[in-house]
C-alpha cells in the first residue's frame, strides 16, 4: 500500500501535540487540504483508517478528540470504515459508536441496535442508545424499548433519553419502575409526557412538586406535551382536571420558579401551566423572564388569558416598576385588552406615551390601543406627530380606540384629530395609517383626504395614502385616483396602487393594470399581475401567458402561474408541466401548486417527478399538490418516497398526502362503478 501523502501525514503528526492550539491548527489544516486537494480514494481510505486508529488510541485523549472532529468533518464517506471496525471488534468501540451517531444514517440502525442489545460494555451500549435516538426509525424505537428493563441503570437512562427525543409513546405500566428509581426518574417523566394516556396526567402534575429540580423541569414539559396530544384527540380536560386537583400555593410556586428556568422549552411550558392555573401571582416572575425576547410574545398571551383578575396585580406592579422594565410591563398590560381599562393603568400609559423613553412610549401606545377608551383618544391623537415606531404604534392604537369609542366614521373622528391642513411628515404618514385602518369600516369619508395626499411631495405619504385607499371597503372614487397613481414617479407608490386596486376588486381598473404589468419595475409588475389574477378577468389570461413566457423576474412569473392554473386549458396544463423543470425553485413550486387543480394523469406524473428535487420545499409543495389532486395512482410512488425522505417535516407532509389519497381510494372502492381512474380536480 502507498504511504499517506506527505501533506496529510504532516497534519496527522501534530494531532498528538501537547499544545491545544497546535492540535487545532493541524485539524483545520487537514480539513482544508481534504477540501481543496481531495485525496484519491485509496489515500482517503488510508487517511480515514489512520484517523480511526487515532480515535481509539488509548494514550491521548487530545488526539482522540481531534480525530473525532476531523472524521465528523469529512462526513458520511467515513461510514463504511466505521462499520468495518465495529464488525471486526477491537478497542475504542465507544468512540467509534459515538462517531457513527454523528455521521451515520438510517442504514446504520440495525448495527447500532445489535450493539445496544448485546451484552457487553455498558458505555458502548449507552453510546449506541444515544445514536439511535438521533437516527430514529421504528427499529431504533424497538431496540431502545427492549433495554428499558436492562440491569444497568445508566443504560436505562440513556435509552429513556433517546426515546424522549424520538417522542415515543410507552405504556405507563412499563415506565412505573423507571419512575420509582431516582436515577431514571427525570428521563422517565419526559417519556411519560409522550404517552398520550390521560391516566398519567395526575402523576405528572405531582412530579411538578418533586424535590429534584431536573424532574420538575421535565414534568412541566411533559404535562404540556400530554395536554397537546390529548387535545388533538378531543380530550382537552384531563390535564386541566389534574392541575385543578393538585392546585395550591406550593404547586404554583414551583411553576413560577420554572418560568425563570434557563431552558426556553421549560420556560414556555411553565408559562402555559401558570396560564392554565390562571395564576396572577406569577405575573412578576413573567415580567422578569421577558428579558428573553423569545418569551416576550408568549407572556402577552399569558396576560390575555388572565384577563380582569390580573388588573390589581398589574396596577401594583406599575406603581413599583423600575424604568427599564416599563416597556415590557406595558406589553403585558396590552394583553389584557379592554379588561385592562383601569384609570391607574391608563394614566401610567398616557404619561409614558408623552415621556422621553421612545421604547416605553411605543409600548404604551400599543397598550393604549388595546385597553384604552375615549379618554385615550386625545393623547393618542397628539402622539400621531411622533416620528418612528412610537408614532406608528400611536396610529394603529388611535384607529383601534377611535373605532371602538366613536365608530369608524370620518365625521366623528375628524374633530379629535390634529389639524389635517398643512400637516406634514410623521403626522401625515401616521394619519394615512390610521385612516386606512379606520376605513376598513367602509366609511368613504376617509377617501377624500387620502386622495389629496396622493399628490403630496413626500413619497412616504403618497405610498401610505395609496395603501390606505385599498383598505377602504366599498365602491368609491379612490379606484380612479389609484389608477392615476399608477403613473407616479416612485415604483413603491405604483406597486402599492396596484395592490390596492386588486384589494378593491375594481373591474374597471383591468386596462390600467394590464399596462402596469409592463412597468419597468418588477415589483410593480408583480403587484399588477397579482391584482389581475385576483380580479379573475378572462381578458387578462393572454397577458398572463405572455408574462410566464417572457418576463425575466421570477416574482412576476410566480403570480401569473396562479392565474394559469384556473383556465383548465390543455395549453396551460402543458405550460405548467414544463415549468416544473424551471431553474428557479420558487417557479417550480408555483407550477406544482398550480397543477394541483389540473385534470389528467400527465399532471400527476409531472408533480411526482418533483419528489426527487434537491430542495426540501419543492418536495413539500409536490407532496401537498399530490394530496390535493386526489389521483390515487400516485399512492405507490408516494409511499416509496415517504419511506426514504430524509427531511422530517417533508416526511410529515408526505404522510399527510398518503393518508388523503388512501381515504380517497377507500371512498372510490366504496362506490363501485364511479371509479374511472380520472383524478379529481
Amino acid at each position: 500500500m502507498n504511504p499517506l501523502r506527505p501533506d496529510l501525514a504532516r497534519c496527522l503528526e501534530s494531532f498528538g501535540s501537547e499544545r491545544w492550539r497546535e492540535r487545532k491548527d493541524a485539524a483545520r489544516d487537514l480539513m482544508s487540504v481534504v477540501r481543496e486537494q481531495p485525496p484519491a480514494p485509496d489515500q482517503l481510505a488510508l487517511l480515514v483508517e489512520q484517523l480511526l486508529d487515532g480515535l481509539v488510541s488509548p494514550d491521548s485523549v487530545a488526539r482522540r478528540s481531534v480525530c473525532h472532529e476531523v472524521l465528523t468533518g469529512i462526513g458520511p464517506s467515513v461510514v463504511p470504515a466505521i462499520r468495518r471496525r465495529l464488525r471486526a471488534g477491537g478497542p475504542g468501540a465507544r468512540m467509534i459508536v459515538d462517531l457513527l451517531g454523528d455521521v451515520g444514517g438510517v442504514d446504520d440502525v440495525p448495527l447500532l441496535a445489535a450493539i445496544l442489545g448485546a451484552p457487553g460494555d455498558d458505555n458502548v451500549r449507552a453510546s449506541a442508545a444515544t445514536a439511535l435516538g438521533v437516527l430514529g426509525t421504528a427499529d431504533a424505537e424497538r431496540a431502545l424499548t427492549n433495554v428499558l428493563s436492562d440491569s444497568s441503570e445508566m443504560l436505562r437512562m440513556f435509552a429513556l433519553d433517546a426515546l424522549a427525543r424520538l417522542g415515543v409513546a410507552i405504556a405507563p405500566e412499563r415506565l412505573a419502575p423507571l419512575l420509582a428509581d431516582p436515577v431514571t426518574r427525570r428521563a422517565a417523566v419526559a417519556v411519560l409526557g409522550h404517552s398520550g394516556d390521560p391516566r398519567v396526567a395526575g402523576p405528572l402534575v405531582r412530579y411538578l412538586g418533586e424535590a429534584m429540580p431536573g424532574v420538575r423541569a421535565a414534568a412541566a414539559v411533559a404535562v404540556v406535551k400530554l395536554h397537546a396530544t390529548l387535545s388533538l384527540r378531543g380530550d382537552p380536560v384531563a390535564v386541566a382536571a389534574a392541575l385543578a386537583a393538585g392546585d395550591g400555593e406550593p404547586l404554583r410556586q414551583r411553576i413560577r420558579e420554572l418560568v425563570a428556568h434557563r431552558q426556553l422549552e421549560v420556560k414556555l411550558a411553565a408559562l402555559a401551566l401558570a396560564g392554565a392555573l390562571a395564576d396572577v401571582g406569577s405575573l412578576s416572575y413573567v415580567l422578569q423572564a421577558m428579558s428573553d425576547p423569545e418569551l416576550r410574545e408568549r407572556a402577552v398571551e399569558f396576560a390575555a388569558g388572565l384577563g380582569a383578575p390580573a388588573v390589581p396585580v398589574l396596577v401594583d406592579m406599575v406603581e413599583q416598576a423600575a424604568p427599564e422594565v416599563l416597556g415590557d410591563l406595558f406589553l403585558l398590560i396590552s394583553g389584557l385588552g379592554p379588561a385592562g381599562n383601569h384609570p391607574r393603568l391608563v394614566e401610567a400609559l398616557t404619561t409614558a406615551l408623552a415621556g422621553p423613553d421612545a421604547h416605553a412610549a411605543c409600548m404604551a401606545a400599543t397598550a393604549l390601543g388595546k385597553v384604552g377608551g375615549a379618554e385615550a383618544i386625545a393623547p393618542l391623537a397628539r402622539a400621531l406627530a411622533l416620528e418612528g415606531p412610537a408614532g406608528e404604534a400611536a396610529a394603529v392604537a388611535f384607529a383601534a380606540v377611535a373605532g371602538r369609542a366613536l365608530g369608524s366614521r370620518h365625521a366623528r373622528v375628524a374633530p379629535h384629530l390634529p389639524v389635517e391642513e398643512g400637516a406634514s411628515g410623521a403626522l401625515l404618514r401616521n394619519l394615512c395609517r390610521a385612516f386606512g385602518l379606520l376605513g376598513r369600516g367602509g366609511d368613504v369619508g376617509f377617501v377624500a383626504p387620502l386622495i389629496a395626499w396622493l399628490g403630496e411631495r413626500d413619497v412616504g405619504v403618497r405610498l401610505l395614502a395609496a395603501r390606505a385607499l385599498g383598505q377602504i371597503a366599498g365602491e368609491h372614487e379612490g379606484a380612479a385616483a389609484l389608477a392615476l397613481a399608477l403613473h407616479d414617479e416612485d415604483a413603491g407608490v405604483r406597486a402599492a396602487a396596484c395592490r390596492s386596486l386588486g384589494q378593491l376588486g375594481a373591474a374597471e381598473s383591468v386596462p390600467a393594470l394590464l399596462t402596469a404589468s409592463r412597468d419597468p419595475s418588477s415589483s410593480v409588475r408583480a403587484a399588477a399581475v397579482q391584482a389581475l389574477v385576483g380580479l379573475d378577468n378572462p381578458i387578462a389570461l393572454a397577458r398572463l401567458r405572455e408574462v410566464v413566457l417572457a418576463d425575466n423576474a421570477p416574482a412576476v412569473v410566480i403570480q401569473a402561474i396562479a392565474g394559469l392554473s384556473r383556465s383548465g386549458t390543455d395549453q396551460d396544463l402543458v405550460m405548467l408541466m414544463s415549468l416544473c423543470r424551471a431553474p428557479d425553485h420558487e417557479i417550480v413550486k408555483a407550477a406544482a401548486r398550480g397543477l394541483s387543480g389540473c385534470k389528467g394523469h400527465r399532471a400527476t406524473a409531472a408533480v411526482l417527478g418533483l419528489l426527487e428535487h434537491p430542495r426540501w420545499d419543492v418536495r413539500w409543495a409536490a407532496a401537498e399538490a399530490l394530496g390535493e389532486r386526489g389521483d390515487t395512482t400516485a399512492l405507490p410512488p408516494l409511499r416509496r418516497v415517504h419511506a426514504v425522505e430524509p427531511d422530517p417535516l417533508v416526511r410529515k407532509v408526505l404522510a399527510g398526502a398518503v393518508a388523503r389519497l388512501e381515504a380517497h381510494a377507500a371512498a372510490e372502492a366504496a362506490a363501485p362503478g364511479d371509479g374511472e381512474g380520472e383524478p379529481t380536480a
Binding site: R21, D25, P293, E324, G403, A405, G441, E475, L504, L649
Partner: protein, 286 residues
Amino acid sequence: MNGRLPPGGIEPPVRVRITPEESRLLAELILDYCGVLLGGDAGFLLERRLASRLDHLSLGSYLEYYHYLSYDLGGPAELLECIERVTTHETYLFREQFQLDAFQREILPVLLGRRGAGAPVVWSAGCSTGEEAYTIAALLTETARPGSRVIGSDISVRGVRAAEAGIYGPSSFRTTPEDRRERYFEPLPGGQWRAIEPLRRMCTFVHLNLLDTARYRELGAIDTIFCRNVLMYLSNQARRRVVEGFYDALVPGGYLLLGHSESLISVPGRFDLVNLSNDLVYRKPG
C-alpha cells in the same frame, strides 16, 4: 367590488397565520444572511415580529413576503428591516460590570504596557444602539492614552443611527453609577441624556453584518473585541466563521471578550483562554 363591513368598531389588522413551510423558508433566509439561528419557536416569533411588515407591504401571506425578500428590488432593503425586527436590540450602559472591570484593570494595562504600543482600538461587535461602545469609550478615557478609539458595528441600520446620535433614556442608565452619568453624558430636555462630545469623537459606528468577514479589514487592526451576547444567537457554522474573522482582525496578543453565558467551546478556534481574576477571556497568541 368587495364590501367588508365589520359589525362594530375596527380592531388592528387581522393577523395572517404563518405556515410551517413559510416559517422555515424565512428562518433559512435569515440564517443565510446573518447566521442568526431561530429556535423551534421560529414561526411564532416571525409571525409576531413580521405581521406589520405584511400589512405595510400589502402582502397576503408570508410566502409572498418571502418572494418579496427573494426577488423584489426592494428585497435587500426589506431583508434589513426583517432582520431589525427579528434580532434583539436589548442593551444598556455599563452592563456586566465585572467584565468591564477586568477590561479596565487587567487588559488595558497589558495593552498599554507593550513595547511601542499606541492608543488602543476597541471594537464593539454587535453594538446595537451604542451603549456598550460609549461605556468602553468612558473606560478608555479614564485609563488609556489620548487617541484611543472605539468602533461600534451592528447589523441594524437603525441601531447604528441611534448609536451615532448617542442619546439615551433612563432605561439605558439602569446600572450606570450616577457620577459616571454626570461625567460622560449631558442632560437634554425631556429626561434624556447625550454622550458628551469628546466621547462621541472617540466612537465610530458602522453598519456591518458579522458574517461579512471580508469587511473586517476595513476596521483596521483591533486590540480588543467585545462581542457580548451575539454569538449565542448564531448557528455553529456562522459562529465559527465570525470567530475566525475576529482572530484575523485582532493584533497578536489582542483580546476577545464574550458574554458571560457564551464560550468558544463549540467553536474550533485558535485563541488562548486567559484566566483573569474575575473573568475568563480569549487572547490571540503572540
